[in-house]
Symmetry: C2
Subunit: 118 residues, 2 copies
């Protein structure tokens, strides 16, 4: 069975992919991949995702330069989630923060705990 | 705006939640929450998820005892993914492994890199 056949894409043909900084262990973002995005990621060694809003595949950092070199890929027990170990160039988040998870729950609200890079 | 209103649940009323070991930084699993699972997680301090196959909310570890104490919760920039910092009791995976991500890509196939606990 090919490696792609073991990935359980959902009814929309997508699989969630968690990007984690390979060095710090920080979770950077979660995005979706279609089969073509997985292929392009494997082929190029850089993370490609599928934008559900734009309905198109994209290379992460293609316009910003904030690319993600993929050092390792893990598949979970159910085969329906990927975990990418990443070497991130620049901030991962489009808000110019290192991680998209820059708000945490405190005092009953989502508190921003990380400022954008200058 | 309440903290729940800032979470963008999908068309099925669910949001993906990534569970990460708070100490080691290891990503343990990804599961889904509905609004009630988020409420129960906040209310009890232990992770609750929503099973899409069983169409029911469940407390992680309710039968196995492998519960997840939630130390911190992050929300991503789009508001559509949660990241939980977890203190895990026992293995997180139903296969008796510490993490559900126990297979990685090597030589064109998914290679198991972690054995189940005895």
């Amino acid at each position: 069975m090919s490696l792609l056949e073991q990935i359980r894409f959902n009814e929309a043909g997508l699989v969630p992919a968690i990007a984690q900084d390979a060095t710090s262990g920080r979770v950077l973002m979660m995005a979706w991949m279609n089969e073509e995005a997985v292929r392009q990621t494997l082929h190029t060694g850089f993370a490609h995702y599928y934008s559900r809003s734009r309905q198109a595949q994209w290379k992460k950092g293609e316009s910003s330069g904030h690319v993600q070199k993929v050092l390792d890929i893990f598949l979970d027990c159910d085969g329906d989630t990927l975990l990418l170990k990443i070497e991130q160039t620049g901030p991962a988040c489009h808000t110019n923060r290192a991680s998209c998870f820059y708000r945490h729950l405190e005092g009953g609200d989502w508190l921003i705990v990380e400022d954008p890079l200058k």
